[in-house]
Amino acid sequence: MNTLATSAPRVARTASFALRAAQRVSRALLLDRSFRFWVDELAPVASRAELRACVLSVADVTHDVKTFVLAPRVWPGHLPGQWVPVEIEVDGIRLRRCYSISSPPNDPHVELTVKRVPGGRVSNWMHTHLHAGDFVRLGAPSGDFVLPEATPAKLLLLSGGSGATPLIAILRDLAHRRALKDVTYLHAARSRRDVLFARELARLSSLHPGLRVVLHLDDESPRLDSTQLWVLVPDLAHRETFLCGPTGMMDAVAPAFLGFEGRLHHERFVVAKPAAAAPGAGALIHLGRSKRSITTTGRGTLLDELEQAGERLEYGCRMGICNTCRCAKRSGVVENVLTGAISNEPDDVIRLCVSVARSDLTLAL
């Protein structure tokens, strides 16, 4: 017994050492590509080069929302409220988008709930082409739209449309931990048929007396704004609020939190793009490495403008989070549209997806 207990880790160590050595040799002899090819050919989800997940099921939630249940090969674990980058291939090009995980951490599978955005490339592709048995590529889960370590005594989970996804994960986790003490779940939807997770909300509120579910339907009552919010949640000031929804809704309710902004936590799916014709509209962008010059219209972020000019650039989230689009700015002035910060130092590293030109620029591209 004793020897077995001590030798097990030694066996594991030797095995992992042997595996690493084999990997080194296969790389040196250029056999690694061949190995990855055969994994892709025979068992794609087993890939060790990237994290892949098999689609277990696809279900219609509403007329324009589907839920995808995924079984990743391994899962690093996530906190309720976090998102995961999903990568798919549309017309030969890999595209990456972030999706909030709607399943709680105790769930063995990963659940994503995706709304079809009109004209959207990834959401439409997932709705039409992604079926059970296919696989998708995943990045590492991340995000700080999560409950604090000590669960607040009074909570408001406030969601609009597909913004319900991170909040349902938080709610499911609280229910699982039997921590639904005093939670208001307020969901705004266009109409009754647009309400996400309706049946589950009904079930949870009948099981947990500490949960109050409030639905706000745009076609039955005036649009949700800060006044409405105070009516629906009179003890708003005493609650820790987690808010996620469409930009318009988030902007409309924001004034309600005047004076206690610190209690408001929010997550945005879309970042408002800079207003048309930012100061200094139209700039000359010089790409140092490819020796190209591009005149911008001044209407989009640098990432949009450069893509329109035919450049193919690395990007991930397109909202200043993932740092994939980082690029050294050799000279010139850019404005960060998220923070309004101005960068005018040479060699500043900027994120193209949230930067607009405020002068002619030279970029290390």
């Binding site: 002899l29 250029l30 080069a49 017309d91 030969g92 890999r94």
Partner: protein, 357 residues
Amino acid sequence: MNRVLTPHEIDAFGRELDALRQEVLDQRGQRDVDHIRSVVRTMRYAEAAGRLLLHVGIDPATFALGSGALGLAKILENMEIGHNVMHGQYDWTHDPELDGETYDWDMACAAHQWREYHNFEHHTFTNILGRDRDVGYGFLRVTSEQPWNPAHIIQPFVAVGLAFLFQWGIGAHALRLDETIAGRQSVAVLWTRARPFLAKGSRQLFKDYVFFPALALANAPRVALGNFIANGTRNVWAFAIIFCGHFPEGVRMYHEQEIQDEPRGAWYLRQIHGSANIKGGRLFHVLSGHLSHQIEHHLFPDLPACRYPEIAPRVRAICERYGQSYNTGSFRAQLTSVARQILENALPSRARPARMQ
């Protein structure tokens, strides 16, 4: 033969080719990815079949088939996959397996050295004497405009030797050994250039002549010989295709002073006059890595190569409209022409003016 164009015409010529390039860029998509992946798949299956036949067979028939399949795999990998992927033709897909910066091919030349001297030097300074070191690779005299020296007398034999050892020639080309011999490059710099090549080359030798034979146990000699034949086949094939791309008669060489402030249209003209195509079917084009469309490749090195046959008739039509030659011919005709160039230029030329001016 080539009409002299006015600066205005040169600009218009350049704009037409720019428009053609943009048209292909706008259409890039699934079709290109499907093409390259199907070539990768064919290559991997050929490789597996070749190795299997060599490793487990004992008769001459499986030996011939196995070496042939492995040779085919190496040709596809180097030419249609490696060369084109390393040009960045598929970078836009964001697929790490098709990423030009990280790809390394199954041959003796270190990928990053090739990217530097080929993608930058050869494709920027194409056929400029003294700048493009691919002109005769520094030791062959492929045009009468190169100065003759007595060593050129044996160049027909040198060329045949190079054909069989072509992968080593491509790898060693990064060393600039000739510059060290001429005293223009220090031995220390030579050594820093030699190290990646020696490392890559010895790993390749180890793989083909130690690692795989050892896996075959008693069949080791057979496997080593099969690998040798596969490498040799690939070498000779690549040599033939690449020599037909730049060294047949009629291909123009340039002098550095000619290209001062060269506008984009003139750059295009130089790529066209400095390259030659080979006629053939679809299979031939794929096996040549589409270097049978050397002209289109030089005009647009970063467009997916499978598009070259599609745009070639239009490039040719543009050339005709502007009275510019477009050098193409059958494989046999171009090879014969290259052989004649190598033989003729082995001897000093009577001071005749440069040909195609």
